[in-house]
């Protein structure tokens, strides 16, 4: 994990958390979440940068009593990612005839076994994001539900299905 030292905080409000502190604390989480969603390092970096730009603009509206900075930043990251998915969807439709290959990296997470990495590639973005939030970033059910705009029960169901599917895919890969 890299260390980050911010020169000065963008917003100073006494003892309250500053944007620089929040960015420093949760940059890895935002990046990791986006990487799982888009499966591409470069895109994840771009989207993470865009997320923090947007978050800086919205920082005066942040209310720590309504949830932690991590949940708030992940919510913005999700919106940014959805915008990207929407744009990608339009682009794919336009360029379908040209058969432009999807920018998906075979190994988008370092340190994973090939079987698990291959299995992750077969999941949908919706399944990957719930795994990223609940398993990789270890968010609790309430926080995950807040980020995804779902009920905690729905999050639990979605996670259970995603893990089951992942397990099946890994087993299939092992058998091959």
């Amino acid at each position: 994990m890299h260390a980050m030292t911010m020169a000065r905080p963008a917003t100073t409000t006494g003892d309250r958390l500053t944007f620089a502190q929040a960015a420093e604390s949760h940059l890895d989480d935002v990046y990791g979440y986006l990487l799982y969603l888009v499966r591409n390092h470069e895109t994840a970096e771009d989207l993470a940068g865009a997320t923090f730009e947007k978050a800086l603009r919205l920082w005066p509206r942040f209310d720590s009593r309504r949830g932690g900075a991590r949940t708030w930043l992940l919510g913005i990251a999700r919106t940014t990612a959805l915008d990207w998915f929407r744009a990608e969807s339009r682009r794919r439709r336009r360029e379908e005839a040209a058969a432009v290959p999807e920018r998906v990296e075979e190994s988008f997470v370092e340190g994973l076994s090939p079987a698990l990495e291959q299995a992750l590639l077969t999941l949908t973005a919706g399944e990957r994001e719930v795994i990223a939030l609940r398993v990789v970033l270890e968010l609790d059910g309430e926080a995950t539900a807040r980020v995804l705009g779902l009920s905690p029960t729905a999050v639990s169901t979605r996670l259970s299905r995603a893990l089951k599917r992942l397990e099946e895919k890994v087993s299939e890969h092992d058998l091959c």
Binding site: F19, A20, D28, A125, L166, V170
Partner: protein, 358 residues
């Protein structure tokens, strides 16, 4: 590989942001914040303000109702004095030309501090019969006297008054006990009824007064015309009957007509005489009560009571206004909520589609 193994492996390989991104975010975080151009309030602030605004509005409504109640409690809107004034202002002119005129008053002059001055007010308030016209005058008067001694004296004075004015007593009902009452029915010459009411009013404090005048002149005039016609008809038939050449059948028919005319004439004459007699004398129903019995008249409400009443009235109007607003705006609010719900659902489905396809 089990789910637990997968979870362990995923957590062990948690991605970290690369240096380039870290530097970029550092630059973003240390840049001066751009001024907000939207000017839009955060939604949670708007909701918080709404939560504050609702009790504040309720407090303002209560305070304004209380303030209005206190300010307007200085001027009672329906006191005994005001009713006494309305008695004067609503009294018709002395000449009553309509078939019926009626004046009623609830006067609690004791509460208003007017005391025995009520008799003076009656002079101006009581409509008098029109001179030269036959009118049925009926007056109801309720007076309050101090005690049973005063009741006895007032009853005797009322009887004397009726007699002195050329009238008479139709009935007297007198009862004493804890609360004394006396009911008198007096008849006095119509032209002196105003004088009678004035004098009777002086016997105590007026609690209630009603004077009704029914014009009988029109009816009497109609009967007089009919009587004249009948007399002419009888005279004409009588002249015809002097003719000796009439056959028996014609004579019988004429005699039957004359008999019917005479019967009708007799009835009309009697009726007209009765109406004239009725018009000659006015009827006065006098009710005398002691103070205890007269306590049925409610006292003037205190300033606090008036303030509370007025405040409640203002609150009721405020409630009506709020209800009206809700009724008018309710459909729009529901429509807006419906549109918002549909948009939210559509957005969520779009997100599901986007994330499911990637």
């Amino acid at each position: 590989m089990t789910s637990a193994d997968i979870v362990r492996e995923l957590q062990a390989a948690r991605p970290a942001a690369p240096h380039a991104l870290r530097a970029r975010v550092e630059a973003i975080a240390t840049a001066p914040p751009a001024p907000s151009t939207s000017g839009r309030r955060p939604p949670f602030l708007a909701r918080r303000r709404l939560l504050l605004a609702l009790p504040a509005a309720a407090a303002v409504a209560l305070a304004s109702a209380g303030a209005i109640g206190i300010v307007q409690s200085d001027a009672p809107r329906s006191t005994a004095v005001a009713e006494g004034d309305s008695l004067r202002s609503s009294a018709p002119p002395a000449t009553v030309t309509g078939p019926t005129a009626s004046v009623g008053a609830e006067a609690a002059q004791k509460a208003a501090g007017a005391g025995a001055a009520g008799g003076t007010a009656t002079d101006a308030a009581t409509p008098g019969p029109t001179t030269g016209r036959a009118q049925r005058v009926t007056a109801n008067l309720t007076l309050q006297v101090a005690d049973t001694d005063a009741l006895s004296q007032a009853t005797q004075s009322a009887l004397d008054t009726a007699r002195s004015l050329g009238g008479y007593v139709v009935s007297v009902s007198y009862a004493t006990g804890e609360e004394g009452t006396a009911s008198l029915t007096l008849r006095v010459p119509t032209e002196r009824v105003q004088d009678a009411i004035t004098r009777l009013s002086g016997l105590g404090t007026i609690l209630a007064q009603q004077v009704q005048i029914d014009d009988l002149q029109e009816s009497i005039d109609a009967m007089s015309r009919r009587i004249a016609t009948l007399r002419e008809r009888i005279a004409r038939i009588s002249a015809q009957l002097t003719d000796t050449s009439l056959d028996a059948e014609t004579r019988a028919t004429l005699e039957a007509r004359r008999r019917a005319a005479r019967d009708e004439l007799a009835a009309l004459t009697t009726n007209r005489a009765a109406q004239k007699a009725e018009a000659r004398l006015a009827t006065i129903q006098l009710q005398l009560v002691t103070e205890q019995a007269g306590s049925v008249v409610p006292g003037s409400p205190s300033r606090i009571d008036r303030a509370i009443d007025r405040a409640v009235e203002v609150l009721a109007w405020e409630g009506i206004a709020v209800l009206f607003g809700l009724v008018v705006l309710g459909p729009f609010v529901l429509l807006g909520a419906g549109v918002w719900g549909v948009q939210r659902l559509a957005r969520r489905r779009e997100h599901e589609r986007l994330l499911g396809a990637s």
